[in-house]
């Protein structure tokens, strides 16, 4: 099968700076124009295409990028990622309905809360090995959901309604035309990509990569594995929390059933489907898995069945995902000057 990743990378390397800039702008323009593509073959029946672009697609991409740092980059299997999304969303919902703070003011608080939850979970559990970590994180996700469900003070089963919309930034967010939401989330995604790219080519990225490949060897080479694993976890949590804040503000209503284990598994599927460890792959995977169920909504009864089949068949055909991890022989650091 064609290695799309290498083709893309080859193109990138062959190109000079103007071509690169042009490519980036062309892609950005196409992506940003997506909300206007509702009447094309992309049309999702029943659900509005512009809304689908925001959730699930945009949100999934954002969360998959965050989870990818944990699973794809550092090799820790996290099945409870939705917990951080929930913490962010509930922070937004509680503060948004009870204080005068607006979405942008709550954003850092929500991210901090999710990071705190990340530390809380990471410190006792990150010493556990892979599969134990999976079940413990899964349990954590359930603990967060069930606690929200059982706490009448934060709405119990009904959740919290009337979460304020984000205040406009020179434009007004609209309910029935979600292009501003999409563009906002696009900016968030770009920001996250930029941060992850920076980390990947620098010391933290190498530390995570070495932990993923051989944790013992990494530690013996001086990598403080425990510290970097916590950082990966907390960094992933921050992205999940930020996504949660925005989600709650955009949805206006949140309830515990928005944060089930299914969401965690779906996000993990996005990461693996796209290609673990490769941010472009993860983005493509999340976009596809977020989009497909709504595109095939007309199948109604057989929709989930088809989704399951796609996962099985695709994993068997391309176990490393659509755009697999780096395979080419090229350092991603700049060549040394003093060599």
């Amino acid at each position: 099968m064609i290695n799309l990743r290498d083709k893309g990378a080859e193109f990138w390397e062959r190109s000079n700076r103007p071509v690169r800039v042009l490519t980036v702008f062309a892609i950005m323009a196409v992506v940003a124009a997506l909300p206007y593509a509702g009447n094309t073959f992309l049309q999702t029946p029943v659900a509005a295409f512009d809304a689908v672009l925001v959730y699930p697609m945009g949100m999934f991409i954002l969360m998959a990028l965050g989870l990818n740092v944990v699973v794809g980059k550092s090799g820790m299997l996290d099945l409870g990622y939705v917990a951080f999304f929930a913490v962010g969303a509930y922070t937004m919902a509680i503060l948004g309905t009870r204080t005068g703070l607006n979405t942008w003011e709550i954003m850092p608080i929500g991210i901090a809360a999710a990071m705190f939850a990340g530390v809380l979970l990471a410190i006792p559990t990150l010493r556990l090995r892979g599969d134990y970590l999976a079940i413990v994180t899964l349990g954590f996700g359930e603990i967060v959901r069930v606690s929200a469900l059982n706490s009448e003070a934060i709405g119990g089963a009904l959740g919290i309604a009337g979460v304020p919309f984000p205040p406009g930034l020179g434009f007004e967010y609209q309910l029935l035309d979600q292009k501003y939401f999409f563009w906002t989330i696009l900016v968030m995604i770009l920001l996250v990509i930029w941060v992850i790219r920076r980390l990947t080519v620098r010391r933290p990225g190498r530390a995570w990569e070495s932990i993923r490949q051989d944790e013992d060897a990494a530690e013996l080479m001086g990598v403080s594995t425990y510290k970097y694993k916590i950082w990966a976890f907390v960094f992933g949590a921050a992205i999940g929390g930020g996504a949660g804040v925005f989600y709650a503000s955009r949805s206006m209503v949140i309830a515990p059933d928005n944060f089930t284990l299914n969401t965690s598994i779906l996000i993990l599927a996005c990461v693996v489907f796209g290609g673990m460890g490769n941010i472009w792959g993860v983005i493509v995977g999340a976009a596809i898995l977020g989009y497909l169920p709504d595109r095939f909504r007309f199948l109604s009864d057989a929709r989930l069945l088809l989704f399951g089949l796609v996962l099985v068949v695709f994993m068997n055909l391309r176990p490393e995902g659509i755009l697999p991890r780096k395979k080419r022989e090229k350092a991603i650091v700049k060549k040394g000057s003093g060599a």
């Binding site: 029943v46 059982n150 059933d257």
Partner: protein
């Protein structure tokens, strides 16, 4: 699933979404077809409720469309899986699709709450056959559905006290244990039921999430409190599981439940354990309220009617009446609904107050299971 409807809808929807510029159908143009939507769980854990209601809607529309009317009515099905999270994705689509003049549903309160902002913004009228959460028509609540939300059944605030009263009828000194299933519907009903019980009657509560298989812990509490009335406020399948385990463990007292348990599914699941169970509901099943129509329903649909059939058919009938009177827009539909005065297919009065509640819905019927049938006894006031 009717493929023609779906593909027709897909085309309509794509046309409607073109750059958001949508011309609503001019009133003067000859309208040949009107589209309404059903919103509820078609897939997911609660799919049965959706299937029952969709079938009821299909039945009512088939009756109408087969009579060769001037304007036919199409049904679009919107699957929200009964979950707020999914409703958030589908509601914007329904709101933006100007072909849809009105919604039958949403079936569940949680999904309704999530959908409301969109339908309010699009002024898309909705009448729910089964969303009974009080806040939806509570002026002071953020979930207040005015002006678009309406419902046929009465709220949990009415059902709760009736359930409390009906449940204790056999006991001289009742000791009531309340079990809910942690859904918005059940927790709401449980709270109103508990509030209505006389002092000292309530002895305890437990919440058993709807994937609970083993009720041993709940049963132990029922036994150790000396309970003689168990009230379950959730849905029929878990109600049947609970009563079966209660009886198997030797519980001899009464068992009572609300409208979530009303239906043949409970009888099938509980078998002879269902005998003597006390039920209340803001409705009557079609088989009870209108046996003639039930017989016809079985003939047309090939199966007995399910939950909320009476409500769903009545709602579709309102829309049919609106179409017959020449309504072709959402605002026209909304005016028609607000001015509507009629009857449900079970013969009770049907009109809506300012908040969207059914004026005629306050009557809660009490039922007792006798001889393998749910028999309506009297109105519980």
């Amino acid at each position: 699933m009717n493929k023609k409807i779906i593909s027709g809808f897909a085309i309509a929807a794509s046309a409607a979404l073109t750059f958001g510029v949508v011309a609503s159908t001019p009133a003067s143009a000859k309208v040949k077809e009107i589209t309404i939507a059903y919103q509820g769980p078609i897939t997911g854990d609660s799919a049965q409720t959706g299937a029952d209601e969709v079938n009821a809607a299909k039945y009512a529309l088939k009756k109408y469309n087969d009579s060769n009317p001037a304007v036919k009515i199409n049904l679009v099905i919107i699957d929200d899986q009964g979950a707020g999270s999914v409703a958030l994705t589908v509601a914007p689509g329904a709101a933006a699709n100007k072909k849809i003049l009105a919604i039958v549903g949403p079936a569940f309160s949680g999904a309704t709450i999530s959908s409301l902002p969109y339908y309010k913004a699009a002024r898309l009228p909705m009448i729910s056959p089964s969303a009974t959460n009080v806040t939806l028509t509570d002026k002071k609540s953020v979930n207040y559905g005015y002006p678009v939300f309406h419902r046929v059944p009465s709220t949990d605030a009415f059902q709760g006290p009736s359930l409390a009263k009906w449940a204790v009828q056999n006991q001289k000194s009742p000791k009531v244990y309340i079990v809910d299933d942690k859904t918005p519907y059940a927790t709401g009903l449980a709270a109103y039921t508990k509030k209505a019980l006389a002092a000292g009657v309530w002895v305890g509560s437990d919440s058993t999430p709807d994937d609970t298989k083993d009720f041993a812990a709940t049963i132990s509490k029922v036994k150790s409190t000396g309970t003689n009335v168990v009230i379950y406020t959730g849905y029929y399948s878990q109600a049947a599981v609970l009563i079966n385990q209660l009886r198997a463990d030797g519980y001899k007292g009464d068992f009572a439940s609300g409208d979530g348990t009303l239906g043949s599914g409970f009888l099938e699941g509980a078998g002879k354990n269902a005998e003597g169970v006390l039920l209340v509901a803001p409705t009557v099943p079609l088989s009870v309220g209108n046996p003639a129509m039930e017989a016809d329903y079985v003939k047309v649909m090939g199966a007995a009617s399910g939950e909320y059939t009476t409500e769903t058919i009545s709602i579709v009938n309102i829309y049919i009446a609106a179409v017959k009177s020449g309504v072709t827009t959402r605002s026209g539909m909304l005016n028609f609904i607000n001015g509507y005065k009629g009857e449900t297919v079970a013969g009770t009065k049907l009109s809506f107050d300012r908040n969207g509640d059914n004026n005629g819905a306050a009557a809660i019927t009490g039922f007792i299971v006798k001889g393998g049938k749910i028999v309506p006894i009297e109105v519980v006031k």
